[in-house]
């Protein structure tokens, strides 16, 4: 589509301001770690399993170190010391920390360099596992190829992983490119990753390593039959954001919902916890070559889509800045936005085009993720289906990269098998019929679309400037994003944040930070 006439200087300034916003909390992030980051380190070293009550080994390890006042040194520090004291394997070392005698404080011989050396082969292997998974995925993708954009993204959420796998296959057969298994309610607030295959979720299915494997195996098989690469998505969010990122990296997931602020705003997770966790998880994600999906679309469910459009854009710049700071290239940033304007408004379609095209232009290399109407849908599935048709039209005309297909039953239930089928068929029709529509259209320089895009960009710019002045913590506490107020020390999971001691050791993070 023809570029909207917007001022590139304003865009450049937005980027610079957002970088300063991220920078403002960067020092805090670098000086702290969290229980979930430390558990991820243990997982990356190969610690696995759970006790008879289902409590993961890595949780017991970290909880014990924290209780003993030793977590400030990092879990790797304690693990390395166990190796130096004679543990034959990582598993043995971790089990000793979890179930053995109370963890001892470091002795005189325990200097950082010896510990780091003891861990070195395991650190190399931890990274190699991620790299091998990435190579495997990239080879499959190269060999089979992906569909044309907008890529068709659908959700499965039966609560039972085996039904999910069947429904994922059916969706792929009907033409979907990307399958997201959404998570059960409550998972974001539990501070451990459950183990094994699960059949009992609500509003979604539990994210576990085994569930990841089950869906990947189904898609691996299906993609060979279809001759088209199929992408798998899950959520790296909530209290276990870094651990899920790691599990997804080794299980070859393609995309992860991962947002610097979503957990704070929509699950009341403590802001400090989330910002530390997003940094570490994005380091893993960058190494693994996974595309993130950010959650700005959600702002428009609690705030009004016309009034709050600029908060979406400001937040996209901030998410981008955080992602850059964690080593993610533009090509892995699926920034989110949505078709959420009140359907009762005259010319809402024009406002939607303005926003969609603006975001497309601001983030040209990014695989941006276009989200459907949700809030303004009701049980009238026929109207909802028509709304989705207009949505598909904007998606293809403005060249969105990823399109999460709208469901006509959005206001009723998690999608049924045929809801997805109907949505895919409808999107295929619109994409086909309007494939080159964007090439034919020129903007009216004095028209509503151009005016609106400029207005939104100017407001986003003003908001970013304010956020730089007051700092991100304060902006979040004041309810700038999504109309939701979250104080820096409120919410869940703050007790899992701790200051890194001067001798803090985390060779996995160091290696990730060296990733080019």
């Amino acid at each position: 589509m023809e570029a909207l006439p917007i001022d590139p200087a304003v865009v450049a300034e937005c980027r610079a301001l957002a970088a300063r916003v991220a920078d403002g909390v960067g020092r805090f992030i670098q000086a702290h770690s969290t229980v979930s980051i430390e558990r991820t380190v243990l997982r990356a070293y190969g610690a696995h399993g759970a006790d008879p009550d289902g409590v993961p080994l890595v949780n017991t390890c970290v909880a014990r170190l924290q209780a003993a006042g030793q977590l400030g040194l990092g879990a790797a520090h304690a693990l390395g010391r166990e190796l130096l004291r004679g543990a034959a394997t990582i598993q043995e070392a971790a089990e000793a920390l979890a179930y053995g005698a109370p963890p001892e404080p470091p002795g005189p011989g325990d200097n950082l360099e010896t510990i780091r050396r003891a861990l070195a082969p395991y650190t190399a292997e931890a990274l190699a596992v991620i790299d091998r998974s990435r190579e495997h995925r990239e080879a499959d993708r190269e060999r089979l190829g992906t569909g044309p954009t907008p890529l068709k993204y659908v959700i499965v959420a039966t609560g039972n992983i085996y039904d999910d796998a069947d429904q994922a296959r059916a969706a792929a057969q009907a033409g979907a490119d990307i399958i997201a298994v959404i998570r059960s309610t409550a998972q974001s607030l539990i501070d451990y990753v459950p183990i094994g295959a699960t059949t009992e979720g609500y509003g979604g299915t539990w994210a576990t390593q085994e569930n990841f494997r089950i869906v990947r195996a189904a898609l691996d098989d299906e993609q060979e039959r279809l001759g088209r690469y199929l992408q798998q998505v899950n959520y790296s969010s909530g209290l276990c954001m870094p651990e899920i990122a790691y599990l997804a990296a080794v299980e070859r997931l393609d995309m992860l919902l991962n947002d610097a602020m979503y957990g704070i705003l929509f699950r009341d997770i403590n802001p400090r916890r989330t910002l530390c966790d997003q940094y570490f998880s994005r380091r893993v994600i960058a190494r693994a070559g996974i595309v993130i999906n950010t959650g700005e679309d959600n702002y428009l469910t609690t705030a009004d889509a016309v009034e709050a459009a600029h908060t979406v854009v400001a937040s996209q710049f901030i998410n981008e800045a955080f992602a850059h700071a964690a080593g993610l290239p533009d090509e892995l940033m699926g920034l989110g936005h949505a078709f959420e304007i009140d359907k009762g408004l005259e010319d809402s379609f024009l406002l939607e085009i303005a926003q969609a095209q603006l975001v497309r232009q601001l983030f040209p290399k990014h695989p941006i993720k276009w989200m459907p109407a949700t809030k303004h849908k009701t049980g009238d599935i026929f109207l909802a289906h028509r709304v989705d048709g207009l949505y598909d039209l904007v998606g293809v005309a403005t060249g969105q990269s990823i399109e999460l297909l709208g469901m006509m039953t959005e206001a009723i239930h998690n999608p049924y098998l045929h809801d997805r089928f109907v949505a895919i068929k409808g999107a295929d029709y619109v994409f086909r019929a309007a494939r080159h529509l964007g090439d034919e259209l020129r903007w009216n320089p004095d028209g509503l679309v151009v005016r609106r895009a400029r207005e939104v960009l100017a407001s986003a710019h003003a908001l970013l400037r304010e956020t730089v002045e007051e700092g991100l913590w304060s902006a979040i506490a004041r309810g700038v994003f999504a109309d939701v107020k979250r104080p820096e020390t409120g919410g869940r999971g703050l007790e899992g944040v701790f200051a890194r001691a001067p001798e803090y050791l985390n060779p996995v993070l160091e290696a990730l930070e060296e990733t080019p």
């Binding site: 959420a157 609560g159 296959r169 059916a170 969706a171 057969q173 009907a174 309610t185 409550a186 607030l189 609500y202 509003g203 929509f266 699950r267 009341d268 469910t301 609690t302 809030k375 009701t378 206001a411 239930h413 998690n414 049924y416 098998l417 045929h418 089928f421 109907v422 068929k425």
Partner: protein, 261 residues
């Protein structure tokens, strides 16, 4: 004072009124439906769809579309006619009943007749993270141009947000001696909203709150009938305005004091 709202006067005995679904001609019983069968699309699958619709009680079944919704699934659109007749005359639905006052009248009546502020607490409970519904009722902004209870000078409204455990909500209500507790439930997959609401009522009974403080349930799949069955005092569904809720609460509080509601 305005008359009580709530539709027909249910003490009146209604005449029988047989009705059927209506498509083309009155009384034709025409209905449409769509569904998936777990078999590949084929002539046999289409016949299976027809028989399935007949099994549901439809006659003159027309399978107007069969689509391969996957290798092993077929999707059908079906039309048919049903002989079923419903007597509309005997249908009774419990409705929330209260005087219909404006927000200003509500405040005035609280001030004059109760002489103290009405305290309410609400939350979206269990593992449910949807706040928009309860916010619409409680927060300043309100819903569809109707201000929320926070904005009423004679209401004191506390909104605990979402993902609040039932016992935390109840404890808060007990500590504050609230007049009413507002529970919101939005996620309904596999009836989790009913399960959670039942648990809330059990807890409320155990703590002696049930029957003392008013218990209100709301959400997109909630109606008054369901709420009463579950043991709440009232239920509110889609489109509820804050003033509907304020009216109900005040009506009940006045009723309890023996004042004219």
């Amino acid at each position: 004072m305005s008359p009580p709202h709530g539709g027909d006067d249910d003490t009146r005995k209604r005449a029988a009124q047989p009705i059927r679904a209506y498509g083309d001609r009155m009384g034709d019983g025409a209905v449409q439906l769509s569904f998936t069968l777990p078999v590949a699309a084929s002539a046999r699958a289409k016949e299976a769809a027809r028989r399935y619709a007949e099994g549901l009680g439809l006659k003159h079944v027309l399978v107007t579309a069969m689509e391969a919704a996957g290798r092993e699934f077929s999707f059908f659109v079906v039309y048919g006619k049903s002989d079923i007749v419903i007597d509309y005359g005997v249908i009774e639905v419990p409705e929330v009943k209260s005087a219909e006052r404006t927000p200003k009248e509500i405040n005035d009546v609280i001030k004059k007749q109760l002489g103290r502020r009405v305290v309410v607490v609400g939350a979206c409970t269990g593992s449910d993270a949807h706040t928009v519904g309860i916010d619409a009722i409680l927060n300043m902004k309100g819903f569809a141009g109707d201000y929320g209870l926070e904005r009423y000078p004679w209401f004191e409204a506390y909104n605990l947000g979402s993902q609040v455990p039932n016992d935390v909500l109840l404890q808060k209500a007990i500590d504050q001696r609230d007049d009413a507790i507002l529970v919101s439930q939005v996620v309904t997959q596999r009836d989790v909203h009913r399960e959670n609401s039942r648990h809330f009522i059990d807890e409320a009974k155990r703590r002696g709150v049930h029957g003392k403080q008013l218990l209100l349930l709301g959400g997109p799949r909630v109606d008054h009938k369901l709420a009463l069955e579950l043991g709440f005092d009232a239920g509110f569904g889609p489109g509820t305005k804050p003033s509907d809720v304020a009216n109900f609460i005040v009506h009940r509080l006045l009723q309890r004091r023996g004042a004219p509601p």
